[in-house]
C-alpha cells in the first residue's frame, strides 16, 4: 500500500496548491496592510482587484502585450487605491471601526456595479502570462504557469519586504501603523501613509487578479469573490496583524485545500470550503490570534 503511493502526484498537487495559495497570499497581504493601519478588513479588496483585472483586459484588448498591461495596470491600481482612500475612507477616518467596515461593504457593491456598468457581465479571457507547457523537474512534470505564478508571488512579497524594511517611506508606514499619534508628532503625515497603504494594497490585489484570471480560463465580475474568502481565511489563519503570517497562512491553506480535494473523496468540491473553514476555526480556538499573531496586552 505504502509502496504504491504516488509521490509524483503529491509533488504536483503541492505545487498547484502553492500556485493557488500564492495568488491568495497577495490579496491576504493587501488585507493585512490595511488592517494594520485602520483596524478593519477591507471587504472591497477583492472587487478592487477584479476591477484592476478588467483594466488589464482592456489594455490587452487595445494591443498591449500581457507584461506591458501587467505593469501599467499595477501603476493605475496604485493611483486608484490612493484615490479611493482619499475620497471614501478619509471622511470616516475617525468614525468607529464598524462604520469603516460597512463603508468597505458599500465600496464592494459600488465597484462591482461599476465593473458591470462599464464592461457588461459577459465572460472574458486574459491571455496566459506563462506557457501552460509542462516542464520536467527531477523526473516530475510541473506546469510552467504554476511555477511562474509562484515566482511572481514570491517576487512581490520580497519587493514589499524590501520597501518596508529598508526605505524611509517603509519606516514611516510601519511607524504610523504602530503608533499614529507619536508618528504625527515626529512629522510623519499619517493620513497620507494610510492612503499610500491603500495604494500598495490595490496594486497587490491587481497582481493577484491578473494571476488568477488566466489560470481560470475565463472570468467575469465574480472573479475575486472566492479568492477574497480564501485570502481572509489565510490572513486570519496566519494572524491578521502579521504580513509573514498572511503569506504562510494562505500558502498552507492553498496546499491543504488542494491536497484534501485530491485525496479525501467524501469531501469533494461541495464541502471543501466548509471543511477548510472548520479547520481554521479549530486552529483559532487553539491560537486565538492566528499562527503568527501576538495577543495584545491591554491596560484597563
Amino acid at each position: 500500500m505504502l509502496l504504491a503511493f504516488d509521490w509524483t502526484q503529491l509533488a504536483q498537487q503541492t505545487v498547484i496548491g502553492l500556485s493557488v495559495g500564492g495568488t491568495w497570499a497577495l490579496l491576504a497581504l493587501a488585507l493585512v496592510l490595511i488592517y494594520r493601519s485602520t483596524g478593519v478588513i477591507n471587504f472591497a479588496q477583492g472587487e478592487m482587484a477584479m476591477f484592476s483585472t478588467f483594466i488589464a483586459w482592456s489594455l490587452v484588448n487595445h494591443g498591449l502585450s500581457f507584461w506591458e498591461a501587467f505593469f501599467l495596470t499595477i501603476a493605475i491600481s496604485f493611483v486608484g487605491g490612493i484615490a479611493v482612500e482619499r475620497v471614501v475612507i478619509r471622511p470616516v477616518e475617525r468614525a468607529p471601526e464598524l462604520t469603516v467596515a460597512i463603508v468597505t461593504i458599500g465600496l464592494f457593491f459600488l465597484v462591482d456595479g461599476a465593473a458591470k456598468w462599464i464592461w457588461s457581465s459577459e465572460t472574458r479571457t486574459l491571455p496566459n502570462a506563462f506557457s501552460t507547457r509542462p516542464i520536467d523537474v527531477a523526473g516530475v512534470a510541473f506546469s510552467i504557469e504554476d511555477l511562474g505564478n509562484i515566482a511572481v508571488s514570491v517576487g512581490v512579497v520580497v519587493l514589499l519586504w524590501l520597501l518596508f524594511r529598508f526605505t524611509k517611506v517603509g519606516l514611516a508606514l510601519r511607524a504610523s501603523a504602530v503608533n499614529p499619534d507619536e508618528s504625527r508628532l515626529l512629522g510623519i503625515r499619517v493620513s497620507w501613509m494610510l492612503a499610500l497603504g491603500w495604494g500598495l494594497a490595490a496594486a497587490m490585489g491587481a497582481v493577484s487578479g491578473m494571476l488568477t484570471a488566466p489560470a481560470l480560463g475565463s472570468f467575469d465580475q465574480n472573479l475575486m469573490q472566492v479568492v477574497l474568502l480564501y485570502a481572509i481565511a489565510g490572513a486570519v489563519l496566519g494572524g491578521l496583524g502579521s504580513p509573514i503570517g498572511a503569506v504562510v497562512g494562505s500558502l498552507l491553506l492553498g496546499v491543504f485545500i488542494t491536497l484534501v480535494g485530491t485525496y479525501v473523496d467524501w469531501i469533494g468540491t461541495d464541502l471543501r470550503t466548509p471543511f477548510a473553514l472548520a479547520v481554521i476555526l479549530a486552529v483559532l480556538l487553539v491560537r486565538p490570534a492566528g499562527l503568527f499573531g501576538r495577543t495584545a496586552v491591554r491596560r484597563v
Binding site: V103, G106, D270, A278
Partner: protein
C-alpha cells in the same frame, strides 16, 4: 413636573407609534403591506444583532446562518411533520437560540475581527451544508410548502380571520411580523435597561474591567449569542412563512452582511433607529433599480448610498436622533 412631562411625551410617542403600526395597511396597497412585512423580518433580525453587537460588542457576520436555522426549522416542521406554520415560530426561535449559544462558545476565545471572520465562515458554509443534508432539507431545491403541506399555510385561500376581523393574507403577514417585531423590541428594551443590559455594556466597554467586577464572561457572552439567535431564528421562521419556500439561496452570506449593514445604519447601541435600518435594507435595492435598469447601475447606486449614509451619519440613525433630541432631553431631565 418636567419629569412627568417627559414620561407623558414618551407615552404619547409610543401610542403614536402603535397607532401608526395599526392603521398603516389601510393606506398602502396589498402588495406594499407584503413588502412592509419583509422589512419586519429584517427589523427582528437587526434588533437581535444589535443586542449582540451594539450592546455586548461581539461582531457577528453569521446571522444569516442563524436565520437559516429558524427558517429550516419552520419548513421541516411544516412539510415533514405537518404543523400549522405559525405554531412553528417559537420552536424556530428556540432552535436558533440553542445554535446561537453553541456559536457563542468559540466567542469566549476569539475577539473582534477574528470572531467576525469565524461567524462569517458559518454564513458562507451554510448553503453547502444545507445542500449536503438533502434528505431533511430538500437539497438545492429546498422545501416548498404548497407542494407538501398546503393545508398548513395560514391564509392560502386569500383571507384570514382573526378575532372576527377578516383580512387579506398579506395584511395578516404584516400584522403577524410587526406584532412580533414590536414585542421583540419591547423585550430588547427591557433587557437593555435592566441589570443584564448593564452587564452587556460592561463587557462591550472593557472585558477585563467587567471580569474584575465579578461578571461571568462565559455566561454573559453565550447568553447574548443565544438571545440574539432567538431573534434571528424567529426572523428566519417568519421569512419562511412569508415566502412559503426555503432553499439554500434564501440564506446566503449576503443576508448576514445586509443585517449588519441595517444594524450599523440604524445605529448600534440604540433601538428606535433600527426601524430605519430595516427599511433602508429592505427598500434600497428597489430604489436603486428604479433609478436605472442598466446592468451594474443598481449595484453602483446601492453601494454609493451605503457609503454616503455612513459618511453623513457615522453613528447611524440612532446616534443622529439622539443628537437631535439632546436639547429636549437635557431640558426634560434637568431640575429647574
Amino acid at each position: 413636573m418636567r419629569r412627568a412631562l417627559g414620561i407623558a411625551l414618551w407615552v404619547l410617542a409610543v401610542a403614536a407609534g402603535i397607532a401608526f403600526f395599526l392603521v398603516l395597511p389601510r393606506f398602502v396597497s396589498d402588495f406594499h403591506s407584503r413588502e412592509l412585512a419583509q422589512a419586519g423580518v429584517f427589523f427582528i433580525a437587526i434588533v437581535g444583532l444589535n443586542l449582540l453587537t451594539g450592546y455586548t460588542g461581539q461582531i457577528s457576520l453569521g446571522h444569516g446562518a442563524l436565520m437559516a436555522i429558524g427558517g429550516y426549522t419552520t419548513a421541516i416542521l411544516v412539510t415533514h411533520e405537518h404543523w400549522r406554520d405559525v405554531w412553528t415560530i417559537p420552536v424556530a426561535g428556540l432552535t436558533a437560540g440553542a445554535v446561537g449559544f453553541l456559536v457563542g462558545i468559540p466567542a469566549l476565545r476569539l475577539s473582534g475581527l477574528y470572531l467576525a471572520v469565524a461567524t462569517f465562515g458559518l454564513a458562507v458554509a451554510m448553503p453547502s451544508i444545507l445542500k449536503k443534508f438533502s434528505g431533511l432539507t430538500g437539497g438545492s431545491e429546498g422545501l416548498v410548502f404548497v407542494e407538501k403541506a398546503p393545508k398548513q399555510i395560514t391564509g392560502l385561500g386569500g383571507s384570514v380571520t382573526i378575532f372576527g376581523h377578516s383580512m387579506t393574507q398579506n395584511h395578516f403577514l404584516y400584522y403577524l411580523t410587526w406584532t412580533i417585531g414590536l414585542i421583540g423590541l419591547t423585550i430588547a428594551w427591557l433587557i437593555v435597561r435592566g441589570r443584564i443590559g448593564r452587564v452587556f455594556r460592561a463587557v462591550r466597554d472593557s472585558e477585563i474591567a467587567a471580569v474584575s467586577s465579578g461578571v461571568n464572561l462565559a455566561k454573559i457572552k453565550t447568553l447574548s449569542f443565544a438571545l440574539s439567535g432567538v431573534y434571528a431564528g424567529i426572523a428566519g421562521s417568519l421569512l419562511a412563512i412569508q415566502t412559503q419556500i426555503v432553499n439554500p439561496l434564501s440564506f446566503t452570506f449576503l443576508l448576514s452582511i445586509l443585517i449588519l449593514v441595517g444594524a450599523v445604519v440604524g445605529g448600534l447601541g440604540s433601538l428606535v433607529g433600527l426601524v430605519v435600518g430595516a427599511f433602508f435594507v429592505q427598500y434600497l435595492p428597489d430604489v436603486s433599480t428604479h433609478i436605472s435598469e442598466r446592468p451594474g447601475v443598481p449595484d453602483f447606486v446601492y453601494g454609493a448610498a451605503i457609503i454616503i449614509v455612513m459618511i453623513l451619519l457615522p453613528s447611524g440613525v440612532g446616534g443622529f436622533l439622539r443628537r437631535l433630541a439632546r436639547p429636549l432631553t437635557t431640558w426634560l431631565y434637568t431640575r429647574p
